[in-house]
Amino acid sequence: MASYRTKALAVATAAALAATLAACGGGSSNANSNTKGGGTLTYYVRSAYEHTDPQRSYLGVEMTNFSRTVYRGLVAFPISSDPTVATTPVPDLATTTGTSTNNAKTWSYTIKNGVKWQDGKAITCEDFKYGASRVFATDVITGGPNYILTYLDIPTDAKTGLPAYDGPYKKDGQALFDKAITCSGNTITYHFKKPWPDFPEAIAALHMMDPYRADKDQGDKSNYQIFSDGPYELQGGTWSKETGGTFVRNPNYSASTDSPNVRKALPNEIIFKVGQTSEQITDQLVADAGPNKGAVTQQSIPSSKFSQVLGPVASRTVSVTSPYVDYLVLNFNRLKNLKVRQAIAMSTDDTAWVAAGGGPKAYKPATDIVSPLVKGYQANLFPGGSGNPAQAKTLLQSAGVKMPYPLTYTYPSTPTADAQARVLQSAWQAAGFKVTLQGVANSDVYYTNIQQPNQAADLIWAGWGADWPSAITVTAPLFDSRPNLTSKSNGQDYGAYKSDPFNALVDKAQNSSSLTDQTTFLQQADQLLAKDVAYIPLDIPIFYMIHGSEVLNYTNNAASNGYPDLGPIDVASSVK
């Protein structure tokens, strides 16, 4: 993942982007059940969106915003402050959340009657099929989630290692695709080569299976064109990467085909303003003047502005647990001695790490790489806390290594990250390590460095968020050596962790037809990682957000990845 920190480090980055699913408690303020809708909501966005094409979008915040406004899927996550409810799919364009057969290898959905595109044409089964087909055009539709390539029942081309179907443009292997996804009237059926018990969660979180109109598809040229099937449409039809866009009512949207639990669509207009810094956005929302009274943002309040958030301003803020987890990876090419790894974990001062990062307004301690309330989370997998350097020193001495034991810790450098690195260094040195800090200023270079098989760092900072609320999108992509480790790159298995028992548990999880079994295997796999000290969880970042005084029904919840949920938000009459 290039996490939120990657985005924070770079003004803009095209590095791997994390779609994340919120595993978080919700926050809300200005609850008002008497809202009537209308008016203009302003939404401040700091960094430019790389894609608005549904099959190419992969940032949690983008997918969330577009889910509530312009892109509808077969299913959706509902508006709820209860994280469990908010991450349980409900029907959207489909009549149900899907019917699975053949041990969750086959999923069928029937599309609702009366659902339309913004030009009034009906949304058909073929539109869904075409949307899914675009993901296979890996030479055109780049950057998006590609899970379907490994799940859909299409043979792999031995020469390229990719599916034998190459998308709707070249159409090689089209018959294979037509067999794997079939349409019968308004019913679409997906045939997978392995069980996908959490398929509804996956397609509620990601837009990869959303419908797409073939006659609107121009490949790259469609990247910033938004053709809506939701309650709003984009004025002018083309999103501006640098300034955003204005969403206005879609006249062909019918609320009767939708649920108020998913979209209330209250403001008449939503203006996305892209490009200002976090500080500028915060200043405008603190000042709370004019249209900013009806404004929200996806940006957390930067720590430099905490002092301005006092009195009545504080009542317009919400703290929400983000869907990310930051963690340390231990490099198995260098740290081969288990006792050394255990001593590092034992002496890691997580409490000081959180404090150095800005305290409880910015972070809370993590005890698992899986975020709380993502299926598979285990609360006490790691002890966390201040660590025990004295005990760690005894353990290190018993490891039979020369002391002080040299360690290099690499991380993406920012003033805050530097301060956090120093407190870790201090605790590790008290346990008998000699620690060299290696901060890397450029986050893109950082992620390239840590993927090098011969990297010299012993400890590596990383961050991750689940793609949908299952540990299958956390531990498997991060520690399964098979898809990650090559002679040229460690992929996302930055520490080159290689364990046959772990991989076997991942296989069992991936072949489970029930979510319960899948979760059990993934928890066992996570316990194995903890036993091997493959990682050390550090923190869960907090989203500390502010909104204008005239914003009503404000909520950040698990369904919206912790960002403002545009489903219920309204603006008061004074800004209408």
Binding site: A14, T138, D220, T448, K488
Partner: protein
Amino acid sequence: MFAYVVRRCFTGVIMLVVMSFVTYFLFFASPLDPGKFACGKSCPPALIKQTDKALGFDKPWPVQWKDFAVGVVKGRDYPEDPALRKSAPQLISHCSAPCLGYSQVNLINVTSELKDKIPISASLALVAFLMWIAGGISLGAIAALTKGSIVDRGVVGISLVFYALPTFWMGLFLIEFPAIKWGLVAVPSYTSIADGGVWGWLSNLFLPALTLALFYMAGYVRITRAFVLESMSEDYLRTAKAKGLAPRKILVKHTMRAALTPIVTLAGLDFAGLLGGAIITEQVFNFNGLGKLAVDSIQTFDLPTTLGLVLLLAAFVIVANIIVDILYAVIDPRVRVG
């Protein structure tokens, strides 16, 4: 003169070719993989390889450079894959000559991308340039004419303060206080003349241009003051004064004309540099000009955009140099180009 300009232009083109070659070389000497950037999260090696192929990064870099050079002369069609263009003609986007490549990050051909940004950076540079030239030269001349007085010391002292303040500080100050806190002006957002009229264009440029102008103006005050004082001590001016020439005429016709020559050189190069984008000011004010694009393209490993910017900026500097040389001859008849 004509032969001189032709000769300089030819040299300029050679320089641009060499620069493009060096940029390609440096890009491919880097360990970063552009395919990995474009591919997205959780991309297995096979998919990264496929993405590299789709972007044309699988070819040897000299071949890519050759394709680029041909595109500059003849134009190009994207996507590069002929099979894809044949099977899906709706995907084709034509990039007319001079085609500077196609940005896979911004999904637009670089020529169009630069065309969109040039008006923003050029507007900012132009307004800032007029502000600092008008302010810097007039205040510098006043300081020189009132040498040793409170006015002189005040102007020089204040200009030193502005010179010492970094542009990011001044930009942040102007946006945080006059715009956000005091609400005297709206938070600037670039508006073209077509969209907002001359007033809309100018009023939105005021704060960012002032940020740049205050910094540059300070330097020009000091330089102008120094050159005017130097000119004023020349014998021919003493002669002019002795012959009873009006002080205003001495200043405008003789003193300033002599002092302007080195200032024109400096101003030409500064203006050309700014045309290439005021990186910090554009970042602070979120003006999506060439400077902001430069930062973004470097951070996102966007070779075609980076290359296009390098060539454009180089072209600005080369052209500015030629213009400055020609202006020299106009201002100072003793100078002859050729």
